[in-house]
């Protein structure tokens, strides 16, 4: 065995210490980077990215028709549909409206579930049976379902170009009946000092011309313009808002910045109710119900009851007439939206 004197031993110990220090430094470098990334980004994503959560962007159980504890309004209407009951489906934001229609106009027992009782513990966040008059496919799958004849009436915003093209490909003409008004809104974190922007500023943010909040009078922080899933109602409305202005790309670094997103007013205020975000004014007007009603807010749009023109279900015309009646419009209002017929 090789023998070492004290000086050699000391030198070896120092070398060993330096070697371990180097190894630990490399490990610490990676740990520090990943911890920072977790704090800035991953922490904000955890637990809310899977398919079930997305499908549960509304607490569907609170809006089930004919349940004792439901958030749905009662209209005490004299109309009850019988016979061939139209199957209803809709966008997430409009669940309160079409579920309320079933709650008030349909007989009990027509909303059914796989296994007998409601469950959202699955990949689609619902378990409506195939013969149930209430379905929840959301906008992307829901438009296809109404074109394919699986749904009789779909409640949603106007279609995307792709959804229009799909109906045309299938040789289907869809009828769009405006039944209420809603505002397309932009929102930021509640602590972001910016409370309002102009349409032009927002287009410049999403086109990539403005990249820092200081460009629009805010803090010196990168802007993270966030978009939605293609084909969703809000993404379609957003692309209409952008018009001919192309949506620009963004750097990976922008993910760490202060974000701006978009949605519909009632979905944010009445359904999600997240107090950590705030809706901002657009062109100096806040999207309150009054400003939607008098259309002073710039991005007021109708939402529709949509059905196939060749659908022979006679209850559809009865349902549409009722929706446009005083009782139907009151239901739209009591569901949290703004009436389209005064």
């Amino acid at each position: 065995m090789k023998q070492y004197n004290t000086a050699q031993m000391q030198k070896r110990s120092q070398l060993l210490l330096r070697q371990w220090a180097a190894i630990l430094a490399v490990a610490a470098l990676f740990a520090a980077f990943n911890f920072s990334m977790y704090q800035v980004l991953t922490r904000r994503l955890a637990g809310n990215f899977d398919g079930t959560f997305q499908a549960r962007m509304i607490d569907l159980e609170s809006y089930l028709p004919h349940q004792e504890e439901t958030k749905l309004p009662e209209t005490h209407t004299s109309l009850t549909l019988t016979g061939d009951l139209p199957v209803l489906d809709g966008a997430t934001a409009l669940v309160p409206v079409y579920a309320a229609v079933i709650h008030n106009l349909y007989p009990e027992g027509c909303v059914t579930f796989e296994g007998g009782t409601f469950s959202d513990d699955n990949s689609t966040g619902e378990n409506f049976a195939a013969d149930s008059v209430m379905q929840y496919k959301n906008t992307v799958r829901g438009y296809k379902a109404v074109v394919d004849g699986e749904t009789d009436v779909f409640f949603g915003a106007g279609p995307s170009k792709e959804q229009e093209a799909y109906a045309k490909e299938q040789g289907v003409t869809l009828v769009y009946v405006p039944i209420g008004l809603e505002a397309f809104v932009f929102f930021v974190n509640e602590k972001n000092p910016v409370d309002g922007l102009t349409s032009d500023q927002i287009r410049k943010i999403y086109s990539g011309e403005y990249t820092n909040w200081s460009d629009v009078g805010g803090a010196n922080r990168t802007i993270n313009p966030v978009s939605r899933l293609a084909g969703s109602g809000s993404q379609t409305s957003f692309l209409k808002f952008m018009g001919d202005t192309p949506v620009g790309g963004k750097s990976l670094f922008a993910l760490t910045g202060g974000a701006i997103g978009f949605s519909f007013r009632y979905y944010m205020e009445g359904i999600v109710e997240n107090e950590a975000v705030k809706i901002i004014s657009l062109d100096g007007v806040y999207p309150s119900a009054d400003h939607i009603r008098d259309r002073s807010y710039p991005l007021v749009s109708s939402f529709y009851a949509i059905y196939r023109e060749d659908n022979s279900n006679e209850n559809i015309s009865v349902l549409i007439s009722w929706l446009l009646s005083e009782e139907g419009q009151r239901l739209v209002e009591e569901s949290g939206y703004v009436r389209v017929v005064e």
Partner: protein, 46 residues
């Protein structure tokens, strides 16, 4: 430790760190594409 052993541990440590960081990146990209933007913006640090 021998220089060869040291380099081996160093490369192994860097390799594991890099693999975990790439996995973290892939997870974050997938999660970002599928997350609720309202919750994402709500959890922002200011």
């Amino acid at each position: 430790m021998k220089e060869r052993t040291f380099l081996l541990i160093l490369i192994l440590t860097a390799g594991i760190g890099l693999a975990l960081t790439i996995a973290h990146f892939l997870y974050a990209i997938y999660a970002y594409q599928h997350c609720s933007i309202i919750y994402f913006i709500g959890k922002e640090l200011w």
